[in-house]
Symmetry: C2
Subunit: 367 residues, 2 copies
């Protein structure tokens, strides 16, 4: 059957989406909790949770080739939200072991299941309003990854953020005009340094999106952490060994375990991309996402519950109660059934102090 | 038995406390509601409601000689809170008819019950931290009232408030060196005018506290509103006529119906007093009462529920939920089971806009 110009693009052969679904989102307390982390929430008001939107964005590229890695406590909720993903493809971590273990486990499983696999790892709690621009970048990244590169997507900085790490771009990649070498990954800079980075045009935000052949990823890991790679492959070969081997895995991010040393070794490529991306790190970025209007209050949830007079900022009515706000600028009000937060967009980062305090008091049930 | 210096002063012979318990306290929404007005709440954090504190303050002066006038809807709650007051002494208004009807009804009842009665009318929702200074002023007022004056207590202004009416003092009252004539009652002035008033030393806040012989009050009323006085005396003579006569009573404040014209007629005296008094008109004055500290947050209720970082103002945790506030100055957070208010002390007066809006939307159940 001939394809028409309006037909959706087909999926990418042997391309798998790996979704690490972890992280509590402490700075989004009390909306995000250990018991219900932010990826389980509809933070955009579009009727889909962040996890579901991640699936929606990837499904055209992978059809049903998903592997989700999440905590034991969240596996049931993930399965409920992703009804089309086969239960066997939702892997449960016995305990949090950071991103290298989670993504590495998926890689080890895929290495056995599909020798031709290319995998893309995309966090469950990011927002990308333009899925087509995202898909176009992923298609390029998958092509580059087939040539055994560890490929990262580099987000064009919208502003000189000090909240993200940066990717320092190198020369154009031979044979792949839309990709570059990665000179290095740099940690979260000061705003001043970030401003210098952005001015050069050669730095991109590191959104933690990696596209790679599973075997390439595990072999790279094996160069610097051979026992780690061996353990992941052993679990994939015999899933019954998960509980035995998992506790021994290092708690380390993929960036530190593989991406940074691999960049030093000249093995990492970047597809610079210009789609809008947000990891919704706090209520300030959520407010910007929901409606960045200095004059009015944005409501995430049932606007019929909110009464605002001379107020700007963000209100999340989440307990069914009426929320009335009078005379506050850039306020953040988050109303949940068992906890209420009132702060400002400028102080949104400091919400973690509350969470740390509650944990220290033994009120972890609230966090 | 000889009285010792530390024995409590005896009550005032034939002195009766009349407590009009009405008024919704709109500017204290969502704490104060039509269904649970502010006098039913413990607003000082001392474990007694404003109504109970009013009783506590007056009991040494009247023993059990109380008459409470309240709305039908609140009679049961009043009886529960004032367990020592005989049910027959809690009069229920079939509908709100302002203060002249409420206090006048009590006067008509007392005129029949105790020909030697002197009554003092004191609202159920005021705060007076020094009950002994209050009692001393009332004792003087009762003596003056026996000489057939309509006596008011004049509160020394703590600041040039534009929220209260003022009493303009005249000459000293012959035979009563601690009392003066009242030249006139003046309506709430501008701050500028109030400043001029206060500078003269001859103006006092009108707290609506009147001490008077019941017959004097009703006879004064009869001079300007003869049918009103007749109707009140008819109800007292035959309580079965309450429902028939009550709807015909004018909706008018005692100040307008009697006090102002009586002052013009030279019939009103004032006992200038210096005790601290507050009608807790809004959350700003409540914040000042609970703890006026620019550096920290005051909590009215269970402080264990409140987590504050870099915050000043007032928090009322009233739903059992944790209330976390980060980085706000002079904030007011009022948490109740079905409605939440977030505002500032400076905007506390504007809470009434929310209440009016809810009523206009037909959400009167929330107000």
């Amino acid at each position: 059957m001939p394809s028409s110009p309006s037909a959706p693009a087909s999926s990418i052969d042997h391309f798998w989406a790996v979704i690490p679904a972890g992280g509590a989102g402490t700075r989004l307390w009390p909306l995000s909790r250990s018991s219900a982390p932010k990826f389980l929430h509809d933070l955009t008001g579009r009727g889909r949770t962040l996890l579901q939107e991640t699936q929606d964005r990837l499904a055209p590229l992978v059809e049903d080739r998903f592997v989700v890695v999440t905590g034991t406590a969240h596996r049931a909720a993930v399965l409920e939200q992703l009804a089309e993903v086969a239960p066997g493809r939702v892997l449960a971590e016995p305990a949090p072991r950071d991103s290298m273990a989670a993504i590495g486990l998926a890689a080890a499983v895929l290495e056995r299941e599909d020798p031709d696999a290319v995998m893309g790892s995309f966090a469950a709690d990011h927002v990308i309003p333009d899925p087509e621009a995202f898909a176009a970048a992923v298609r390029i990244a998958a092509e580059v990854a087939r040539d055994d590169w560890l490929v990262t997507l580099g987000i064009e900085p919208a502003f000189p953020s000090s909240a993200f790490g940066y990717i320092h771009l190198g020369e154009e990649l031979p044979g792949h005009p839309a990709a570059t070498h990665v000179r290095e990954f740099v940690e979260k800079p000061s705003v001043r340094t970030a401003t210098e980075y952005v001015a050069t045009g050669r730095y991109r935000w590191n959104a933690g999106m990696f596209v790679v052949r599973p075997t390439v990823l595990l072999d790279l890991l094996g160069q610097w952490h051979p026992e780690f790679a061996d353990a992941l492959r052993a679990i994939a070969a015999d899933p019954d060994r998960l509980d035995e081997l998992w506790p021994s895995l290092p708690k380390i991010a993929l960036d530190h375990a593989v991406a940074e040393p691999a960049a030093d070794a000249g093995r990492v490529a970047c597809v610079p991309s210009s789609f809008h991306w947000d990891d919704i790190g706090d209520f300030d970025s959520l407010a910007a996402l929901v409606g960045d209007d200095a004059e009015t209050v944005a409501v995430l949830g049932d606007a019929g519950l909110v009464r605002a007079v001379d107020t700007s900022g963000l209100v999340l009515p989440g307990s069914g109660r009426v929320v009335a706000v009078v005379g506050l600028d850039d306020v953040v009000v988050v109303d949940t059934p068992d906890a209420l937060l009132v702060t400002t967009r400028a102080r949104a980062q400091d919400v973690k102090q509350i969470v740390e305090g509650l944990k220290a008091e033994g009120r972890a049930g609230l966090t």
